[in-house]
Point group: C2
Chain length 227, copies 2
DNA sequence: CGTGTTATTGAAGTGTATCAAATTGCGTGG
DNA sequence: CCACGCAATTTGATACACTTCAATAACACG
């Protein structure tokens, strides 16, 4: 890893949106002292399913996908996290190995905060514990909803949902058919055919690998998302 | 609701296994003062999806299922909780409405602890916050695994898994085909046929509505559970 | 400029839902 | 306690959405 100017928490752009944003100067300095930075190229793993959790990853820039594989090798993307997100805190608190692997989707820059430093911080800052609880609860809610949709929605419906989620949360990135399939729990072929259908109806537009949403309302309908 | 002798936390049998087991006398008394008890008949709802979370349910006895429904009415059982479990704490911390409904499976006896009392307790007891974090992390891990299995395993595989989970965690209860289907994300008919297959191979035995696991090892194999 | 990955299209097979009807079993009230 | 009625169970037939396999084409990468 190349030596690079150390990023400081109190000037880190991604901090503003993160869970650690309300910490005082002392706490931030403590993190600064304990953490170390790492960079990953697309496709590289931050950690692997089955590994013990040794700390917390704070995403400074880039996108990370969390994925699981079954014994046949089929991959399911569980979550996708961008700048400002914290990764790996679940395994930290449950004291269990990671169930998912974390993979860089594009060039990723993270700060790694060792487990001991994180736990100390949480123990000494009750409001921070509550923030973690809140964040984890929110993630849990999403996961429950995904389980429900996985078993009650059709493949095209889940693909529509995937498009909305991936495109709106990570606009810059052009996801592959394979990644869309892995998020939606289906195959690249089915994604293909569904995308062709959606384009035929003018709901999306494909130019090469880039997908543009033309009719968001109709796509929401297709995804069975009613708000 | 009939007047009944108030259950005290420090003599409550289910407490020994719960999250609140390490609390001191003062805290337990505070809960005792704030809580009130409720009983539900099978099929009755403790709360409904969409409701705002007003507190925490501590299961004294009985079994509660947490389920979600899609717009067509198809039900998915998300979790099943028995004596000693806490229910509804996720919505408490994320400050969002319940996404699932809680339904009594058999006669249920719970203590309801109002939100304000719980949050006060958590704020004043950092170790308790960490226990909640740990519990929530554990629940999250299960949910992730269920999502993965929902999208990569076949219906018979998920049914085998359902049998193991439901039968081993709640031995006394004879689950209906419908409930097994709702847990496994399939239909009662498919559950039927799978049960017939499993019985034909001597893996389980059905006597009326009661299912007995004869060959646990083979059932684990069927469920694609390898430890 | 070659090589491996991704995209695309087609054809075939099958797992599982859906629908329908008969039977059993259970709880409720007479 | 029995009978009734309704819900759960069981079995069969049908349909079709989706995966799987295979083969070509386009692309990105070193």
């Amino acid at each position: 890893m190349a030596a690079n100017p150390k990023t400081h928490c109190n000037t880190c752009e991604s901090r503003a949106y993160g869970l650690l944003c309300d910490l005082g100067q002392n706490e931030l300095s403590a993190i600064d002292a304990a953490k170390f930075e790492q960079k990953y190229k697309p496709g590289q793993n931050l950690f692997y399913s089955g590994n013990a959790a040794s700390g917390l990853y704070c995403v400074v820039s880039g996108t990370v996908k969390l994925e699981m594989q079954d014994e046949s090798g089929k991959t399911q993307i569980m979550q996708v996290q961008g700048a400002g997100s914290l990764i790996g805190y679940r395994a930290l608190f449950s004291d269990q190995p990671y169930v998912a692997s974390a993979v860089a989707v594009d060039p990723v820059h993270v700060c790694f905060i060792p487990k001991t430093a994180v736990l100390k911080l949480v123990q000494e800052n009750p409001p921070l514990a509550l923030k973690f609880l809140s964040q984890l609860s929110e993630d849990f809610r999403m996961m429950e909803q995904r389980l429900q949709r996985a078993s009650s929605n059709s493949a095209p419906e889940r693909i529509a949902e995937a498009l909305l989620f991936l495109r709106e949360n990570f606009e810059e990135k052009n996801w592959t058919r394979k990644e869309i399939a892995e998020w939606a729990g289906t195959t690249p072929e089915t994604v293909m055919r569904t995308l062709a259908d959606l384009e035929g109806e003018g709901i999306i537009e494909q130019t090469g690998r880039k997908i543009t949403i033309k009719d968001r309302a109709k796509l929401l309908e297709r995804a069975k998302i009613f708000i």
